[in-house]
Amino acid sequence: MLKYANPTHFLALAARLIPWLAATTALLLIAGLYLTFFVAPDDYQQGSSVKIMYLHVPSAWLAMMCYVIMTSAALGTIVWRHPLADAAQKAAAPLGAAFTLLCLVTGSLWGKPMWGTWWVWDARLTSVLVLFLIYLGLIGLWRTIEEPAQAARAAAILTLVGVVNIPIIKFSVDWWNTLHQPASVFKLGGPAIAGSMLWPLLIMAVGFTFLFFTLHLMAIRNEILRRRLRRLSIDAAHAEEQAEATA
C-alpha cells in the first residue's frame, strides 16, 4: 500500500485503474439513468419532476464527500507534507465546486415547481451556498500562490478551517425549521422512501461516486505531471542561464 505513495508507482497504478473506473462509471450511470427515466414511478404529488431527485441528491452527497476527502488530503499535506496529498487536495477543489453547483442548480430547478420559488434563504440552501463559495475561495488560493508546496499548505489550512461547515450542512435540516426536507435515506428506522425510488437513487449515487473517483484520479495524475513539467522547465531555464554565463 505504502508503495503507491511514491508518485511514479502511483502514476502506474492510476494508468491501470482509470479505464476500469471509467467503464464502471459509464455502466452505472447508464443503468441509473435508465431506471430513473423508464422504471422509477412518478410521484403522486410531484409528477415527473421527482426525477430531478436522482441527480440532485447524489450531487449533494458528492459535494460533501469531496470536501471530506479534501480534508483528509489536507491533513496529509500538513502532517506528512506529501506531494501526493497536495495533488489530491488541488484536484478535489474544482470537482467539489462542480458537484456543489450541480446540486444548487438542480435544487433550484426542482424548487420552482415544488416550492414555487427558485431559491429560499433557509439554512440548508445557505450552508450549501457557503460550501460553494469556500470551494471557489480555495480554487482562487490555488491559482494565486505560484509555488505548489506553499499553495498546498495554505489551501490545507483553509480547508481545515472550512470543515466546520460540513456538519452544519448535514444537520441544518434538523437544527432549524427549514423548507428543505429532512434526511430521508440515512436515518434511524430505515429510509423513508419507497424501494422503487430508493434503488435507482442508490445506483445513481454509486455511479456519481465512481465518476468522482475517476475524475479525481485523472486530475491527480495531471497535477503530478504538471509539477514535473514545472520542475523540468525551471531546470531547463537554469541550465540555459548557466550556459549563457559560461559562454
Binding site: V130, L133, I134, G140, L141, T144, Q150, V161
Partner: protein
C-alpha cells in the same frame, strides 16, 4: 521577558494604526460612507430604514473590518519584520493574538462606538441602538480573528486583499446572521435578546481559541 515583548508589540501596533496611512481612522470613514450610501440606494423611507438598519450597520461593519485586515501581516511581510517575528522566541500564536487585539482596538472599537450614532440616522429605536452596539461588541472579535486567518494566508501575495475577502466572507456568515438577529431582537421580536448574544459570544470565543493556531500555521507555511 515574553510579557514585555508582547506589550511592546501591542503598543507598536497601536502606534502604527494611529499614524497616517495606518488604516485605523480610514476604516471608520469607510464605515460612515457605507452606511450613508445605503439610504441613497434604497430611498429615504424611514420605516424601511429602521427595519433594516441593523443589517446595514452589520454589513458595513463586516466590510470595514475586512478593509484594514489585509494590512495585518502584509506590512510586516513587506518590511521584513514578519521574519523577525517568525524567528522570535515568543510563540507565534501569541503574537497573532496580540496583533489582532491591537487591530480590534484600533479599527473595530471605533465602529462599535460610532454605530449607535449612525443608527440614529437610520431611524432605529433606542433599544435597537444599544442592541447593535452590544452585538457588534460581541461579534467583531470573531470577525477580526477569522480575518487574521485570511490575512495570514494571503500575506505576501499580489492582489491578496481581494482574495482575502473571498476566503473569509463565507466563513463570516454565521457571525453576520446572529449579529443581525441579536440587534433585531433588542427592539422586540420572538427571540429573547440573550440567545443570539450568547451564540455571538460563543463564536467569538471559538474564533479566539482556534484562529491563532490557523493563522500562525499559515504564516509559517509561507516559507517553510
Amino acid at each position: 521577558m515574553m510579557q514585555s515583548s508582547l506589550s511592546a508589540l501591542f503598543w507598536r501596533e497601536l502606534r502604527i494604526a494611529r499614524s497616517v496611512g495606518g488604516g485605523g481612522a480610514m476604516g471608520l470613514v469607510f464605515f460612515l460612507i457605507l452606511v450613508s450610501l445605503t439610504p441613497f440606494a434604497i430611498g429615504p423611507d424611514l420605516n424601511l430604514l429602521s427595519r433594516i438598519g441593523p443589517a446595514i450597520l452589520w454589513i458595513a461593519a463586516l466590510l470595514a473590518t475586512l478593509l484594514g485586515l489585509d494590512r495585518l501581516f502584509q506590512a510586516d511581510a513587506d518590511d521584513g519584520s514578519l521574519d523577525l517575528l517568525l524567528t522570535a522566541s515568543t510563540p507565534l500564536e501569541l503574537i497573532v493574538v496580540v496583533k489582532c487585539a491591537a487591530h480590534w482596538i484600533a479599527t473595530a472599537l471605533p465602529l462599535i462606538l460610532a454605530s449607535p450614532l449612525l443608527g440614529l440616522t437610520l431611524a432605529m429605536e433606542p433599544a435597537s441602538l444599544g442592541g447593535i452596539a452590544l452585538s457588534l461588541l460581541a461579534g467583531t472579535p470573531a470577525l477580526t480573528m477569522l480575518g487574521a486567518i485570511g490575512a495570514a494566508l494571503t500575506a505576501g501575495l499580489r492582489r491578496g486583499g481581494l482574495l482575502m475577502a473571498v476566503l473569509i466572507l463565507p466563513l463570516a456568515t454565521p457571525v453576520l446572521i446572529f449579529g443581525v438577529s441579536g440587534a433585531a431582537a433588542a427592539s422586540g421580536g420572538t427571540v429573547p435578546f440573550h440567545i443570539p448574544m450568547l451564540i455571538l459570544c460563543g463564536l467569538s470565543l471559538a474564533a479566539l481559541a482556534g484562529a491563532p493556531f490557523a493563522a500562525a500555521a499559515a504564516l509559517r507555511a509561507r516559507d517553510a
